[in-house]
Symmetry: C2
Subunit: 342 residues, 2 copies
DNA sequence: TTTTATTACGCAACCGATTGCGTAAAATAT
DNA sequence: ATATTTTACGCAATCGGTTGCGTAATAAAA
């Protein structure tokens, strides 16, 4: 690979007969440069095929105009929608977005964090890997004063900016809905319990059970990464039980959809014999038959809020230790849980 | 936002009592540095919390160890899986991936291309926006000798490296399959026809019709962005026809799924009255009932191939003008098209 | 007309790592 | 013992913008 010589501000300077400093300023409409010079410089720049050298600029100015986003994986509707929200805000402020996937591996997350810091991103938005429970790899951002915001899968016991939804409340309402539909043996598919999102969903579920004086049965609570495969396995386990459940509240749609598939495959009637509810409201949820009752998770707004909060940090009072934004969710009732009709 | 002073190789140099040059070399195991010094330097670096300054390194070395990926949008299963393929190869070579979305807007694509070049990515992988038909914004990569590979949605009439699937053949086989199932009025949902992927799918479809002496009816071919909404509208249009089709071959699964939804909604029997086939094999395809017949599009492998080809370009003989890799697809027959059984 | 303010630009240091070239010291060869 | 090679490192320029400070020229104020 050969690289041709590239046009620099020095080339433009020579061409327009001004100093490189003037070119630099002219290109960003600095107030002290005359309109005429600005015009000349810009015209020459365009005509010569000039492209600013971002690394050079970043080195000197200590600003990269880039924010990083670290997620488990982008090929999930919820995540990619969230990222779009981040991009909307970032782009509107002239920033670009650097995306990294951990694939739910803490090691990759650590490596990604190093890379993000080395790239000197101006801010970082993070949704944690499933098993991460030590947050030391983010210290360098805190120490250096780089804005840092966690979203969705946020760390427990860490004073940091966070953006989440009302997981507890949503789970409570959903469970209550299932109870109202006549279910009294409700199972739960959860994620890693040190991950707040999943812990809170379980706690909301438990609280609803308690409030309605339903027994709590540990064998009905199963934890996994909530993938499609795991969804099938978890459902299998439930139906291997002496007394299977009459409802499943899954912490995500992916696993809930698998449960429906399992049931259809085994001839278990939904929602009559088994009501199913999910979380997120992926497109899948409305397409599967019967359509899946779920919680609308405002992915796009979560991304927007996280980015906004990130930019807010830059102007913020140093006295503010941390800030948590909670967004609202919405119960979406569909056929998969309607034993009684509305 | 305040930024604390950050550790540089100069700080390490002072600490270890060697020159910055030696630190720089030690950190990358340069052969001319003694093992002892390397150890000392690395220990000090870790202990002092050193993180390399990527912009500085990039500026001097003219290598960013980053490749760019430009796509329409990441929240599509096909695209995000493709990106994972790119990442696998890139990461294994120590490169990071910069992702940008055009949202199918040529203007955004142009702006993204500028940003990518300014960032001085070491290579660029592109899947074009739907309407892009002028490729001038990629000239700067060609001129500068930056490796450039198009994937999936590749440009027509441009001598560039490309990675695609056998769209024509796949479409031909699919259409033939529908004909064998007894369909003789087959509609087609296509994308923009200046986009090779979509043009070839249509041509494969047409070729199969011709070979089986079926009439070609322009009113049965509808073009759009193939989103979920568009899928419904297109199906509506088909059923507004005096004589509706008895099959639809859609250029993607998203629109095909919409067609099935439409049919179910209107009480049109699938596949009896209407056979439906898609393209891509998204998870949706296997979940909707009846399950969707489709073409398995090797998204992950496309990504891997594109990245491999990108890296290959760097060592390549300058005589090679361009190179096109074609990957194989596979017909996935499911209930949505099985009028006769297998 | 002299003084002060404003406008428009240049100088040169700087950001942090990389690298071609040079060299002292130690090792090996003659 | 002298010459040659190898090892291990330092010097200083360099990458391409950015920016604090200084200043000549022109305009406005006194």
């Amino acid at each position: 690979m050969k690289r041709a010589k590239q046009v620099t501000i020095y080339d433009i300077a020579k061409n327009v007969q001004v100093s490189p400093a003037t070119v630099s300023r002219a290109l960003k409409d600095h107030y002290s440069i005359s309109k005429e010079t600005i015009q000349n410089v810009k015209k020459a720049a365009k005509q010569m095929g000039y492209f600013p050298n971002t690394p050079a600029s970043s080195l000197r100015s200590k600003k990269t105009n880039t924010i990083g986003v670290m997620v488990s994986r982008i090929n999930r509707p919820f995540i990619s929608t969230l990222i779009s929200g981040v991009e909307e805000v970032a782009n509107s402020k002239g920033y670009h977005v650097f995306i990294a996937q951990s694939e739910d591996m803490t090691q990759k997350e650590i490596s990604n964090a190093r890379a993000m810091f080395s790239a000197r991103v101006d801010g970082l938005i993070v949704s944690l890997a499933m098993e991460t429970h030590d947050y030391g790899h983010f210290d360098v951002f805190l120490d250096s004063g780089t804005p840092l915001v966690f979203v969705d899968r946020v760390p427990a016991n860490m004073a940091a900016d966070k953006v989440v939804v009302d997981n507890y409340e949503a789970a409570f309402k959903m469970t209550q809905h299932l109870i109202e539909q006549g279910c009294n043996r409700i199972a739960h598919f959860g994620g890693a319990q040190h991950r707040d999102v999943y812990r809170l969903r379980k706690e909301g579920y438990l609280a609803a059970l308690k409030q309605h004086n339903l027994p709590i049965d540990e064998s009905l609570m199963i934890y996994s990464n909530l993938g499609a495969e795991e969804g099938l396995e978890m459902t299998q386990r439930l139906f291997d039980l002496p007394v299977p459940p009459d409802a499943i509240f899954s912490a995500n749609d992916t696993a809930a959809v698998s449960a429906i598939q399992f049931a259809k495959d085994k001839g278990i009637a939904i929602p009559k014999e088994l009501a199913v509810a999910g979380f997120n409201n992926d497109r899948l949820a409305s397409i599967i038959a019967p359509a899946l009752t779920t919680v609308a998770n405002p992915a796009f707004d979560l991304g927007k809020a996280a980015a906004s909060q990130l930019f807010a940090q830059r102007e913020e009072n140093d006295m503010v230790a941390s800030n948590t934004t909670v967004l609202k969710t919405e119960l979406i009732v569909r056929e998969s849980s309607l034993k009684k009709g509305r």
